[in-house]
């Protein structure tokens, strides 16, 4: 039970819900950038929500199946074809042994999730099949897929073809986004003016946007309150004594371009952070293309937890719809 990679696309990796527990040794959680989309794709094909699937960035792979399977594609709008026949997104469809799954050009979003019945059965590393490329860990030999790779599949569960996610439970990425931010961490190092500008300005996703972090451009530079740099911190006012980073935390090296750390985050470093994007909005970042217009919206903890609860409710409705 397997499929063969005829063309890997741009950057296609095996991802599940990640490997928590090793961040203190510099190994990040990894896993799907858009966890909701991964869960939906898995539920559609009868897999456990956290089964390993493919995450394809900007461009779909071309895969040849050696076995009959059920497939679902969610997340980015990347139209699927089986031997040339189009199939709708967010819907379970069959692929028979010998058939080829391919994709049209990207129409929206950044990352498509391709779940296959049985799940991808590469060997887990530290409890997860997610690929952490920098550390050459997990996934398929710790790297992105390449031509000729053959990936094993697990045993499938019975599933209904044509099952689909209701329209109101699909998240379709747009050209602009708001990201809610809880200010904190080293916020106090900035001038009051810079703090105001950060939330007032419109930012755009820079080309340097990947699984480690998303970089933004277009807002005014961050200015810092004058202070004597603490011992060990380094000379730039944006430097701190190297500390742990939160997932979603926003660093601004040199005060110029904010970077939001994501699933393959570096676990620490020597740049100040001004707060963190709330957990409820992390999936959204994974679907943003370069040049997406973004505003950061200031929230407090109560609002962050309310946003988290709303996401949990959406997931509960998804589970109910697909049960």
């Amino acid at each position: 039970m397997a499929f063969k990679v005829l063309n890997p696309g741009l950057l296609t990796t095996v991802q599940d819900l990640g490997r928590p527990g090793y961040f203190h040794l510099g190994i990040p959680v990894s896993g799907a950038m858009d966890r909701y989309a991964l869960r939906a794709a898995n539920l559609l094909v009868g897999n456990p929500e956290g089964a390993a699937a493919l995450e394809a960035v900007f461009m779909g792979p071309k895969l040849e199946f050696e076995v009959d399977a059920t497939v679902a594609v969610t997340g980015a709008d990347l139209p699927a074809r089986v031997d040339g026949e189009p199939h709708p997104a967010w819907t379970a469809f069959p692929v028979r042994a010998g058939q080829t799954l391919s994709f049209d050009y990207l129409k929206g979003g950044a990352r498509a999730y391709i779940a296959i019945s049985g799940g991808i059965d590469t060997p887990p590393a530290l409890g997860s099949r997610s690929t952490y490329i920098i550390g050459a860990l997990g996934g398929y030999h710790g790297r992105a897929l390449a031509v000729g790779d053959v990936l094993p599949l697990g045993a499938p569960h019975a599933v209904q073809h044509g099952t689909e996610v209701p329209a109101d439970l699909r998240r379709t990425p747009g050209h602009s986004a708001e990201l809610r931010v809880l200010p904190g961490l080293y916020w106090r190092l900035m001038t009051e003016e810079a703090g105001g500008n950060f939330f007032a300005d419109e930012w755009k996703v820079a080309p340097e946007a990947d699984r480690m972090g998303y970089r933004f451009r277009g807002g005014r530079p961050i200015t810092f309150k004058p202070r004597e740099q603490p011992f060990g911190a380094g000379s730039d006012p944006s430097n701190i004594v190297d500390a742990c980073y939160s997932y979603g935390s926003i660093q601004v090296p040199g005060g110029s371009e904010p970077i939001v750390l994501h699933r393959d985050a570096v676990s620490g470093g020597g740049y100040f952070t001004l707060g963190a994007v709330v957990s409820a909005d992390m999936d959204l970042i994974g679907q943003m293309q370069p040049n997406t217009r973004v505003r950061f919206v200031k929230v407090d903890m109560e609002q962050a937890l309310a946003a988290r609860a709303a996401e949990a409710q959406r997931l509960a409705r998804l589970r109910e719809a697909l049960s």
Partner: protein, 291 residues
């Protein structure tokens, strides 16, 4: 020292023991971080100690942020009374200073450096007041270093020099980070040295390279079979200068699974260290060499 607490989004609490680096801040941070781990608080999913700070990751569906915050503040009070002793190990890491690979890399990124005319070692020797690179290299490996944090990328140790602050090596990072650093480069930025566990981007000055792998996701290297990451916060490291022939010999021994880093169990007592730095380091070296 002034402890500062902050939320990092809705899933992290960040605790900064002191904004400047010191062994006192490190010991207090590690002591509280270990206490948090030992308490096994329901909803706490990860505890990450760093140089002079630590971070707790939690699931706000299982524990309220302010409940956890209050619990951490209680722990701080008891950490002040804790003994500043650590049962740990000292490890000898061979370093080929001025090796061809980091030299080639630093030449490629010269336009990102403060001193485009010289090497990273020339620059570091000068800004630290050493007349020659040889004297600087000697200062780098003469005293042991303390692993005060593991992270950035998989298994990368940050190391803090066990000498008086006036003798600590300090070097600014590159003006703009490199996009490439050879695997197992010995780097230095601010007051910290590091070992780049994997190839990749980096902003620390490059002094040399070690033949000893410290991260092995395949877990084939003999001393990394139990776990893929070699270093833990609290490890003590002694650099040992080697030449090209010794470097090649160790690379061959590692490949044949004949190599084990020289290691000894030691106890590090912060008060004893502060009372007699040279004497404490002397005893650490005796332990390493089985004297």
């Amino acid at each position: 020292m002034q402890t500062r607490y902050s939320y990092g989004g809705d899933e992290h609490i960040f605790v900064e023991i002191d904004e400047e680096m010191s062994l006192e801040a490190f010991f207090k941070s590690l002591s509280i971080a270990n206490a948090v781990r030992a308490m096994r608080i329901d909803g706490v999913t990860e505890v990450c100690p760093a140089n002079g700070s630590f971070q707790v990751k939690f699931d706000p569906d299982r524990i309220k942020p302010d409940t956890l915050m209050a619990a951490l503040k209680v722990l701080e009070a008891s950490a002040d009374k804790a003994e500043k002793r650590l049962d740990t190990r000292i490890v000898e890491i061979p370093v080929y200073y001025r090796d061809p690979w980091t030299t080639e890399t630093l030449m490629r990124f010269r336009e990102r450096h403060q001193d485009p005319e010289g090497t990273d070692l020339d620059y570091a020797a000068r800004v630290n007041g050493y007349d020659t690179v040889e004297q600087f290299i000697h200062a780098h490996h003469a005293s042991p270093w303390f692993v005060s944090m593991v992270g950035f990328v998989a298994g990368l140790p940050f190391l803090y020099q066990l000498v008086e602050r006036s003798r600590q090596i300090q070097v600014p990072k590159y003006l703009r980070p490199r996009t490439d650093t050879p695997k197992l480069t010995i780097g230095h930025g601010g007051c910290f040295s590091c070992v780049y566990s994997v190839r990749g981007a980096g902003g620390y000055q490059m002094f040399g390279i070690t033949p000893v792998p410290i991260y092995d996701p395949q877990q084939k290297v003999s001393y990394l079979r139990e776990f893929m990451v070699f270093f833990r916060p609290g490890d003590i490291v002694k650099w040992k200068p080697i030449d090209h022939a010794e470097y090649d010999a160790i690379v061959a021994d590692v490949a044949a699974n004949r190599y084990e880093p020289r290691t000894a169990k030691v106890t590090f007592d912060l008060d004893a260290f502060n009372a007699d730095i040279d004497g404490t380091n002397q005893r650490l070296m005796e332990a390493l060499h089985g004297v």
